[in-house]
Symmetry: C2
Subunit: 351 residues, 2 copies
């Protein structure tokens, strides 16, 4: 079979995520396809707007593959956005140039009635076509990552209508309308799980669930509204695609990262920039592969700040059961040469 999928043992990222000995320590970067690359800005300019960009498989596949042409990374992550899920559920979503996402916000329980997952996969067909295109062109040894936003983070955008500083509208809804909020989370669990399974069917070999705003919740609510829905999604993906590792990225979860590791629902945990390395090595790594967590500003600054940051992570967490990554996305002002230096440093220490 010429088109037989690559075996796990050929791909360092998949080897590591499954806790197997890897040929080399894998590295990929959140937002590795992005504005810091001039070729990204070129392809971005061909789209009408950001939503159009996400739904143009030719452009999105090109953006996905660009960083792998420049850098010796171990994976491509499909170029898309977490807000394609609210969009597919029927919410109005748009991007204001230079301002970020805007949504027609959910402000009361009745606003939920317009949302439905019935047409989710057809509405997201373009994303799956992007994955198929990338899968066909991906160089040997490189893995393809699918992703989605976690229910709590998606709910934050759906209720706030945009990014927020204190998330008081979101929390007010969650605390004050618990039944309606539970219905919204249930709908998002269903939608996210199906979106991830569909991405796997289109070629994704591992999936990451981003809970970017996990860090604003008290511990009990973090467990109820971030961890529990993500664990349920991981179980559903696992039931349909048992070979596919699931990475959870509960940014800012702090001490509650331990609960994410202990449940055993995730193959790997993405660590944010602030998580202490020693504690992660002791408390998390025995139970889950860890991924992270260089401060993106250290990548931006470069030089000895970068190399010392890299070395500290490799020393504390490497080389087994570690996927090298940033603790958050690549910043737009990052010089591309610094990414090359980062990859070289990670490679060099494994010689």
């Amino acid at each position: 079979m010429d088109n037989a999928p690559a075996r796990t043992e050929d791909k360092p990222l998949l080897q590591s995520l499954k806790g197997q000995p890897a040929e080399r320590l894998p590295i990929w970067l959140m937002r590795q396809a992005g504005r810091y690359l001039p070729e990204y800005r070129e392809v971005r300019a061909k789209a009408k707007d950001f939503i159009d960009f996400c739904f143009r498989p030719d452009l999105a596949a090109e953006a996905t593959l660009q960083p792998l042409r420049r850098f010796d990374l171990d994976a491509a992550i499909v170029f898309s956005d977490i807000l394609v899920v609210p969009l597919a559920l029927g919410q109005k979503v748009w991007f204001e140039e230079g301002k970020g996402p805007r949504l027609e916000p959910i402000r009361k329980p009745e606003d939920l009635t317009g949302l439905s997952a019935d047409d989710l996969e057809p509405r997201l067909a373009a994303v799956y076509e992007t994955l198929e295109t990338v899968a066909a062109e991906l160089p040997a040894g490189k893995a393809l990552i699918g992703f989605a936003g976690a229910p709590w983070t998606l709910a934050s955008y759906m209720i706030e209508g945009q990014t927020s500083r204190d998330f008081s509208r979101l929390k007010r809804f969650a605390y004050g309308q618990p039944e309606a909020f539970a219905r919204l989370l249930d709908l998002l669990v269903e939608a996210v799980a199906r979106h991830l399974v569909a991405q796997v069917r289109a070629g994704a070999e591992t999936v990451q669930i981003f809970d970017s705003w996990a860090g604003v919740l008290p511990e009990p609510e973090l467990k109820a509204w971030s961890l529990a829905p993500m664990a349920e999604i991981a179980r559903r993906v696992g039931a349909d695609c048992p070979e596919v590792p699931v990475i959870a990225f509960p940014r800012g979860a702090g001490l509650t990262y331990a609960a994410f590791a202990e449940g055993g629902d995730f193959d790997a945990l993405g660590l944010d920039t602030t998580l202490p390395l020693g504690w992660a090595a002791e408390r998390l790594q025995p139970k889950a592969v860890v991924q992270g967590n260089l401060d993106p500003v250290k990548l931006l600054v470069g030089g000895s700040v970068l190399t010392r940051g890299v070395d500290a992570i490799l020393e504390a967490l490497g080389p087994r059961r570690l996927v090298f990554n940033l603790g958050h996305g690549v910043l737009p002002e990052t010089p591309p040469e610094h990414v090359a230096e980062l990859v070289a440093r990670v490679r060099g220490t494994q010689a």
Copy 2:
């Protein structure tokens, strides 16, 4: 002496902060003087702008005392702003209505040359006058709290020029210009320590250092740029005013709260909303009094969400070595009746 200062044993807040048995579990709230009170909005309207408000002792003293007239709180916190320190150092600071603070930002090491602490106390005389006015009018049993921003948080505003989402300018300066950044932190340690000592001389009986943006740093930098400067400030205040308890509020410090407790430099630690109560009881409370940490949105929502939140904190952390507070400031939309309910709940459980 009619004007003899009240003894510690008369004031539950000071008793608790010193680890002594308190007559009752003390409670005060961050931003207890603020926009959620109609009488605050009235007095605010008499000032030309927010800076003018902070430097008008008659108005600021009135704002400081207002919440104590409505609620049975155990302390007043002087109405002021953390940005009076950059202002006193010679930086241009102003507030744009509805947008928050703006500063003429420090962008390169040379920009630091214009800053000096030489005239700090005379420039902040109005703040000390506010404290003197409040101290003279404070009801029996109530304590007076002074405060300042921590060097890291002050530096964030001084370098970013406003609040920020990712603090990339600040971190870029800190990582990329380490000598200049160290000079800035040293200047801020000096200025903040002197500002706190001057507040004590004007009547403050305890002081809180707010590090609102501690939560964006990796562990080593959090220790170097948040904990170390705050500890040095606490030592300087302790040298001049050994009877005055110092509260550190390193918001978002997560696991590194343990290092704040272990150093022994602070009498009390303000816990942010996200810090798990069980861990705080086990790891922090044996070494420092703890203060916090109800989610301000639970206060805003009220009802059973509020009472369950209060009860969970009292059960996990009370009644000894606890000062009841929020995990962040009172939100402007908070109904004042909810504050009355909160105080009653805290009082009720101690009957």
